[in-house]
């Protein structure tokens, strides 16, 4: 079953912060985050594993709440280059494929 992302879209001014959530009804083993710019391929940002620590560095980080089967992506002091559609991809234990959410479109304005 497809994970649910929220919000579906968000518009920010440069320098503002954003949080994108990804929720699943299944017990997850891993969560991936990708960013896709218009007309381009999705680009891997980070992976979070069950029992692992919060990942990320500088201004983009993510967490994984195993009790809620939810992951959150944090973008702080956003830059114009952060614009794009963010997808979470989830996998259950033993699964070899990712199931992706419907995406969150992030627009950063000057």
């Amino acid at each position: 079953q497809q994970p649910v992302q929220s919000p579906q879209a968000v518009i920010l001014r440069e320098g503002e912060d954003a949080v994108i959530n990804c929720s699943s009804s299944k017990a997850l083993y891993s969560v991936h985050w990708y960013r896709q710019k218009h007309g381009e391929a999705p680009v891997f940002l980070m992976i979070l594993l069950k029992g692992g620590e919060q990942k990320g560095h500088e201004k983009i980080s993510a967490s994984f709440n195993e009790k809620k089967q939810q992951s959150s992506l944090y973008l702080t002091a956003s830059q114009l280059s952060y614009s794009g559609t963010y997808f979470c991809g989830t996998a259950t234990q033993g699964a070899q494929k990712l199931v992706f959410g419907q995406g969150t479109r992030l627009t950063i304005n000057p």
């Binding site: 497809q2 083993y29 891993s30 991936h32 990708y34 381009e40 391929a41 999705p42 680009v43 891997f44 940002l45 980070m46 992976i47 594993l49 997808f87 991809g89 070899q96 494929k97 990712l98 199931v99 992706f100 959410g101 419907q102 995406g103």
Partner: protein, 114 residues
């Protein structure tokens, strides 16, 4: 190669024709995936290869869709008797062995069925 290569980048075909889409993964990546992305939508799983075997083909929409992988490298996705609803961007991704690695996607093939 340095990245995942897909060809053609664009394909316009007439309804009812067969098409072949090619994916050349990163050298040494044993896992290969095909996804489909319709306009403004998320990524829909089609098939997963480990080496030349396809242990999960559960996402193939119908028997008009098939895929193979040879030599643990190049993969071909074939769509027979194309329909307008097949129009989408077909993305291929490869991944190194191990759970800590993300997918590397190719730029995709934009298929338009007219």
């Amino acid at each position: 190669g340095a990245g995942v290569s897909q060809s053609p980048s664009n394909k316009v075909t007439e309804k009812g024709k067969d098409v072949e889409l090619r994916c050349d993964p990163i050298s040494g990546h044993t896992a290969l995936y095909w996804y489909r992305q319709s306009l403004g939508q998320g990524l829909e799983f089609l098939i997963y290869f480990q080496g030349n075997s396809a242990p999960d083909k559960s996402g193939l929409p119908s028997d008009r869709f098939s895929a193979e992988r040879t030599g643990g490298s190049v993969s071909t996705l074939t769509i027979q008797r194309t329909q307008q609803e097949d129009s989408a961007v077909y993305l291929c991704a490869s991944r190194s062995t191990g759970s800590l690695y993300g997918y590397t996607f190719g730029s995709g093939t934009r298929l338009t069925v007219v």
